[in-house]
Symmetry: none
Subunit: 204 residues, 4 copies
DNA sequence: TATGAATGAGGGTTCATTCAT
DNA sequence: TATGAATGAACCCTCATTCAT
């Protein structure tokens, strides 16, 4: 019994190592730079070994994506709970979650870009879109509905508004990740200014 | 004399074919999908032929990028002139240009992604891109300044605000390009709603 | 245990085959003639296979070079030991080693030309080559010093004299390898005549 | 009539340019570096133009070789005439010519290596060997015969001795060209020492 | 479980050369 | 005379993947 557990643990460790390596490679140079051999080199196993844990390269990337997705949701939910605990009103909760969105992207560029920037059709997004990415979207929608009820923002098609908010947050995040903005202010200022401005526009 | 012109034209025709092929390949999967061999296959010439027109792959992509940049700027400027001709106020001019930004991205996904999404450091064109990217940025800043003077939007650090506007527009565009939004409304609605909301937030 | 050894042996066998093939290709036209594809063809493996054993073409040639270097030194040392065992005087030992130098070149034209004729800066091995090339040189110098002490040859700057001897031996070898001399005598006669003449010139 | 001459002159000028370019490319990196396109680039004509003057790459290199051969012979003959004019004895004449041999190689590394180092079977040496390279050899033989008659050197098979002398000179030259000898003395010293030593060995 | 062996496909690029103009 | 257009062959090398052990 015991040694089976050990095996499982070891097995999971290698899976982890593979994902970690893929993640770091992805971070450095994007999807193109992730190759089975490079992963193998990095974890100091043979390329063949990876195929014991993942069916193919796509499966590795998909796992990476799923993981990023989970962490992303977790970050959003945590920030929401904290906002809740702090007794914020619905609008401020939304702003807090929005801020958390951008912070997550900045702190985890590799996950953010694999989730939202790279166009990984090879990873068969279909399943993913259903399975999780839009949990974040639902969270957003729910927050918007609450804010509408509280009167913090205008009434309206919450799905449309959620898409709009998402646009704003995604633009903010990916610009911060990929471009050196010709700016006199700090990144923090840009984030809060943009979020504040957008939600002010949503107020009645 | 005449036949020289013909030659030039033909020469340019092949250059064009190459760029077009590269552009269409780029559309599918980004830079990785663009290969000299694939371009050659598509235009039905040998790979070697491409090297008569471009020094290497980088030069092909650079041309593509420069072209996209020029078209992008042109689209923005044209919309500005039209807004001007229509006698719009500064704020509405800004909205018109913003709308043109998103429309350009939707109409030219390959150009938009080569300009703003793909991370082409390999093309080492940062400076070149910037020169043009920031022409768009300056256009934005100038519009903002004008709107401030007219009183249409709040006073403030125009470089910060321009970055903020850009974030919003970029987010809108790339979401529209890369994701099927779970939306009940149309893309047009999303665009105008987002732009309106954001600029309403900028009003005093 | 056993099968590991077998594996190692097999692995070495293919390494050997690669080196042998490279060696034989080198024989024809030098470095330019050595190509990964040609090696692969010759050993009847795919080109990719070679990359399991060597990082790149340079590594193949480097190994070839190191091997040639080792064999060359070995040949010189062995002839020296034999001369020693035969109780020859210092001058005759020198002549014996000199003869061995030329014989090695004739018997191993690929090695000789990779070592001393081809200008393999591309292999960036100058230091490596030198380390061994100058072991041969030191052996020569030591022999000269001994002969000076014994009175067999004139006193003098032994490094200059060693260079001079080396010139003579290298000229002899490379002429024998690369040209059909318009000669009435045999190669053997040329070798012994040249060596004898040169060392006679060195006698006081 | 006149313009035909001009044409010929111009034609020859381009031939010359081609050869010059080939020569300089050859000098830099050896035969492998000489390519039709690089020659064309260097002379600022199209690659096709070269084919109006030379049947193919081989013909270019052959011309280069013939030219080098002519210059080489010329250098040897001139030194011989000078030695004659200076009233030197046969042995000293031989030494003078020997010195000129090495000097030519050092002053014209590209010609020397194309003549004696590179193994250009592609240039069909056969014809060349007969046609000129061995004029130098005959010159050497004649000098040796004269020196034998004068009593400056031992009697013997002059063809064997000439080969031997050639070996020594070739070794000296190619070592000086291709290797940084680990030497405390100067190149000049090495040259004169080696030549002197060898001819001393030839003296009775 | 882990790997060494092996490969076919494809990557960018350079070459000598031909042909029509 | 000179060239622009074009190519097939070859170059080194990396990729994801399979298979037997």
């Amino acid at each position: 019994m015991k040694h089976i557990k050990r095996r499982e643990r070891e097995s999971n460790e290698i899976r982890r190592k593979i994902i970690e390596a893929a993640r770091s490679l992805f971070l450095n140079q994007g999807y193109a730079e992730v190759s089975m051999r490079k992963i193998a080199d990095q974890i100091e196993y043979s390329p063949t070994t990876i195929y014991h844990y993942f069916a193919n390269k796509e499966a590795v990337v998909r796992e990476l994506l799923l993981e990023g997705n989970a962490l992303f949701l977790q970050a959003l939910q945590q920030s929401q709970e904290e906002a809740e605990a702090a007794g914020l009103n619905a609008l401020d909760k939304l702003k807090t979650v929005s801020d958390a969105y951008v912070r997550f992207g900045m702190a985890n560029p590799e996950y953010y870009s694999i989730l939202f920037i790279s166009n990984l059709e090879s990873v068969s997004l279909v399943s993913l879109i259903d399975s999780g990415r839009f949990k974040g979207f639902e969270l957003l929608e729910a927050g918007l509905l609450a804010a509408m009820e509280e009167g913090g923002i205008i009434q309206g098609n919450e799905s449309l508004i959620a898409s709009s908010v998402w646009s704003m947050l995604h633009g903010l995040t990916s610009l911060l990740l990929n471009f050196e903005l010709p700016m006199t202010s700090s990144k923090d200022e840009l984030i809060s200014f943009t979020i504040d401005t957008f939600f002010r526009g949503l107020q009645s």
